[in-house]
Amino acid sequence: MSVWLSGHEVARLVRSRLPEAVEEESDGFVAVDGQALIEVCQHLQRELAINYLNNLTAVDYLDYIEVVYHLSSLERNHLLTLKVRCYDRDNPEVPSLMPLWQGADLQEGLRPPPLPAATWEPCPEAR
């Protein structure tokens, strides 16, 4: 049976490497600073053997746009939810995960763009 890692457990692990990166944590998720996203994911790759991007989407809340990542480790059968919040609605930017997982390609670069219109920074291989 798959195990959903608690947001607190993941937050503790992230803080051990990137003390300022965690913005919010709960039982179900951990929200991190968008600028630290790549480093956080690299840390999770190393420490939790996270190797699979299950799902990537965005939710438009009134105060911010939230980008949601469901990540998992196929070896350990663990899952976790990672979030990045963009408070600047006029210029929402989140780094692309393409350098780590090619699976982000079509999920980030959907045509027509995903709802809401969170934009991703261009990366070398993005179309």
Binding site: N54, V59, D105
Partner: protein
């Protein structure tokens, strides 16, 4: 564009690259889908999947409907596996709203989704062999068996394509007595049918020539590209959500996870044939218990309109015939979802298409696309 063309490792005379659009109107693109290919002679040096022609805003429409109404949208995404879509969204809704499901409904759901997997893989065999150049004979054989499953679905819910059968709390109605008779006959006949497929196809020289070492996707790249289902397992990754994260009654039954060794089109084809056998194993075990079940409730009464608790979100994933079918629902306490996100395996499996196709001939691109087995309703949504 820099030319990279070579055949068997030997450089070939290259000319100016030519852009050729395969689709959006093309019989082998499984719907309205465009492969923008860059060719050097007959060799593909770059490819870009272009989709969105069938985009129908189903995620947004789902947010404007009640949870029960949204099920009808899922029928129309992966219309070759509507039962699997019904199931995935209902599991998500039930988790979001804490709805229990009676045991009889679990059995009915098991029977339906495993029959659906066989029907979907039958469709794959027909279309894939078509794309390999076998024209309509294998298609007719596969449709012969798929029709029997559709007959059973029609007995259960009156529909042959868009079922809307699985509902929050259970299923819409119990199956009639003739369903049991038909399923018993089907389970007796189908192993022979699959043996017939194997006899006709597995050692078919043309199929092997068109599939072996074509569209190779390595294990590492399959994982990195988030592929799932038969594409992931064809590349040698033994991962099936029915085992890894069991739902319904899968943890009660014995079945194996077939995996490929090379990750080529042949392995993806073979994995699906083997999966049909495993689905039959599951069905035989499940049906044996189902016929012994006393009559009972098939659905927990749930209001047509209900409000799940606010500020709650779930991500529920199931193993559909095409891979990981996930639903991410966010509730704000109202009668309709605040966010209705579908993780469609068809779409995400296309991520690896470029890698599988570059270096092959144009005719191979059609076979490779066929081996991914996409449904455009789900890709575009």
């Amino acid at each position: 564009v820099k030319s990279l063309a070579s055949i068997d490792g030997l450089p070939v005379q290259t000319g100016e690259p030519v852009v050729v659009n395969i689709g959006p109107q093309h019989p082998s693109t499984h719907g309205v889908f465009r492969l923008r290919t860059v060719l050097d002679g007959e060799v593909i040096i770059d490819v870009e999947p272009v989709f969105g022609y069938l985009h129908s805003s189903m995620e947004k429409l789902g947010e404007l409907r009640t949870y029960t109404q949204a099920i009808t949208l899922t029928d129309r995404m992966d219309y070759l596996a509507s039962m699997s879509n019904n199931l995935a969204v209902c599991l998500a809704i039930e988790k979001l709203a804490d709805i229990e499901v009676p045991e009889r409904a679990l059995y009915l759901r098991m029977l339906m989704v495993e029959l659906q997997r066989i029907a979907s893989h039958c469709m794959f065999i027909g279309t894939y062999l078509n794309e390999c150049g076998a024209w309509s004979t294998p298609w007719m054989y596969a449709f012969r068996d798929r029709e029997k499953i559709l007959d059973m679905f029609e007995m259960s819910c009156g529909q042959r394509l868009t079922y809307n059968y699985i509902r929050p709390g259970g299923v819409v109605q119990d199956v009639p007595p003739e369903f049991t008779i038909s399923l018993r006959v089907f389970l007796k006949d189908m192993p022979n049918r699959i043996a017939e497929y194997e006899e006709l196809l597995i050692e078919n020289e043309i199929l092997i020539a068109r599939s072996k070492q074509v569209g190779v996707l390595t294990r590492e790249r399959a994982i990195n590209a988030s592929t799932s289902g038969p594409v992931l397992r064809g590349s040698g990754v033994q991962f099936d959500l029915r085992k890894a994260d069991p739902y319904l009654l899968y943890d009660r039954y014995d079945f194996d996870i077939p995996v490929g060794q090379v990750g080529d089109c042949w392995d993806r084809f073979w994995v699906r044939i083997e999966e049909m056998k495993q689905s039959l194993r599951i069905l035989q075990q499940c049906f044996g218990e189902f016929v012994e079940l006393p009559p009972g409730p098939f659905r927990t009464p749930v209001d047509w309109v209900f409000n799940p608790p606010p500020d709650r979100e779930v991500y529920v994933r199931t193993e559909s015939p095409r891979g990981e079918l996930g639903y991410y629902l966010v509730s704000d306490g109202s009668a309709n979802p605040y966010r209705f996100r579908v993780r469609g395996p068809s779409q995400i499996n296309l991520t690896a298409l470029r890698e599988m196709t570059i270096g092959h001939k144009v005719a191979d691109a059609i076979v490779i696309l066929g081996s991914v087995d996409i449904v455009m309703g789900e890709v575009d949504r």
